[in-house]
Symmetry: C2
Subunit: 348 residues, 2 copies
């Protein structure tokens, strides 16, 4: 079971005073729809669990099955089906609406409950003396999409989250085809929200995201479904995550040229439709601060015009409890070198 | 500024299904009061910011100055002066009591405010529509101790947190003498709570903790002050951290044979007075889950009888939102090998 150190380079440094206090190593792939790598840092073949980063892939059956049309889902609902949402009322309403259109309610959700990511939403629950429910779980939109797909296909919605349910089998097929890789059941884990998660190499994920964003190398129905999901996310950035959160900030700043999606344990992916590229990265230790800084750097290299919109993410100062600047989160030399080379490739 | 990968070994693995999902590298030192190393994993000479792990050292002037006696501080108050507390009412009351005995109130605290670490305490504030104050900051006990020291010595309490204040100068001297190392001002950063933090090698920290726990190699007044602080922590485990938190759990299970203290960015230290040993470790990426698992493994190697009391920490299952076991946090082969060798040394 145990493995030696991954050998991945340090990508991100956490600096306090004059010292590097902590460091995050990891791997990053930037690929086109054919799988050609424009940036290859670290081990891109070792399978990693993409977690929530591939929610849009998990939402494709919602469209491809005809469920989205049959239930007349709007863009809020499509966006929340792709989301790791903050549990605000806008999210809860969109999830409730999606379920209702499929003739279901929140009692069908099998994701488990957790306090909303949003502090405001948590405060509101407390003010009204409520405990969080499954619908507040950041994955509830994804689950609602899976349930709606099951209902539309005339399948038993119960057990929709299990690996042997037809909806999960469809999703596994889509991930496999989109990323161009056979899924290995020995690499299947259980996600935080109880659905299966399949480990994939970063190179394959980056290729998959290039395809999702541009439609290249996808059957036309899938390309169309992907385009529709992306359009929903571009139209409803707050539904994909929430206020103050990375993916919402990026969507607001860069749509429709860039869509990002983070996952637990330091995974982050992105599609850049105009460039026909996909990005997939994983921070070895799982740290979100490492993943978000690295993703910001790669996007800025690919789209220099993004530097303004991502200024807060690129110049990640660390403030202490009194608001004093005590340090910063910064790219390592290895990451800087790699993104400089990447930027040069794009310019040419 | 940028440095290459530390070269430290992977110590802890986060396993989901059959795969290592994430990994934490770092360094660990176990030393006696003379500095002899019984365990040396990774780079023990690179200076690291110990952060909250050395709060007991920062509290020594409170006793050595005579303030603790002059103000008749009780054990709750001494323990909270060494604490990264959860911000529960027991902690807030102890801090308020300490300040009051010195003729001060919470308005003197310069640590800044943050929501209590304790979820219950946070929810109570939210339920009563309150914002957190400086006294809820996990460092407020440490700051109260510094303030009381200043008052007792007839110093201006304002600015007590600044590097040039006499109390901070005293603390720096104590850290330097206890760990047997010159403090380099170029290695001074600002802590989250605004006091100075001096970067030290793990080897020196481990030696310092061996000394604090056993009194060996310390002047008798310091040994006595350290003993008194340890006794307060052994008597009031909940005041040192809080319910459900690692340092409180360890104190409850193992006092008086072991006292641990964690710090931000994956630092954890411990003193084992009966064995005359100290432990100091840092996880490269700053992850607490890595630090706590590694610390548990080292303690269990040094004190096999601890395995029962630390069972929850050693067998760190990961549950998802529905309480399904999805993985575990486990020691790497390198850590297992090192702790096995350590255990053999102790047996002999």
């Amino acid at each position: 079971m145990s493995e030696t150190a991954s050998g991945n380079p340090v990508l991100v440094e956490v600096i306090r005073g004059a010292l590097v206090e902590s460091r995050h190593s990891g791997a990053i792939a930037v690929a086109d729809a054919g799988g050609r790598l424009l940036l290859a840092l670290g081990d891109l073949e070792r399978p990693i669990y993409p977690r929530s980063a591939i929610k849009a892939m998990q939402a494709l059956p919602l469209i491809e099955s005809g469920a989205a049309d049959a239930f007349a889902l709007n863009e809020d609902e499509l966006a929340v089906a792709c989301a790791s949402h903050s549990g605000d009322s806008v999210h809860v309403e969109a999830v409730r609406g999606l379920l209702a259109k499929a003739g279901l309610d929140e009692s069908y959700l099998a994701c488990g409950a957790h306090w909303p990511i949003s502090e405001d939403a948590t405060r509101e629950l407390l003010r009204t003396a409520q405990r969080p429910r499954a619908i507040h779980n950041n994955c509830s939109g994804k689950h609602a999409g899976m349930l709606a797909t099951a209902v539309h296909l005339g399948l038993d919605p119960k057990g929709y989250e299990r690996p042997d349910h037809q909806v999960q089998i469809m999703i596994a097929g889509i991930i496999s085809e989109t990323c161009g890789i056979a899924l290995d059941r020995s690499r299947m884990g259980i996600d935080g929200c109880s659905v299966p998660t399949f480990a994939l190499p970063l190179a394959a994920l980056a290729k998959g995201f290039a395809r999702l964003g541009s439609g290249e190398e996808l059957p036309s129905e899938r390309a169309s479904a992907a385009r529709r999901l992306c359009h929903a996310c571009f139209s409803e950035p707050a539904h994909v995550a929430g206020e103050g959160r990375f993916d919402t900030i990026v969507l607001r700043a860069l749509a429709p040229s860039c869509i990002t999606k983070g996952g637990a344990e330091g995974v982050h992916c992105a599609a850049l439709p105009d460039l026909g590229l996909g990005i997939a990265l994983k921070i070895d230790d799982g740290a979100k601060r490492g993943a978000e800084l690295a993703m910001s750097e790669v996007i800025a290299a690919l789209q220099p015009e993004a530097k303004h919109g991502l200024a807060g993410q690129l110049n990640a100062e660390m403030l202490n409890w009194r608001g004093i600047v005590v340090g910063r989160v910064a790219p390592s030399e290895a990451l800087q070198r790699a993104t400089n080379e990447l930027a040069n490739q794009i310019v040419r």
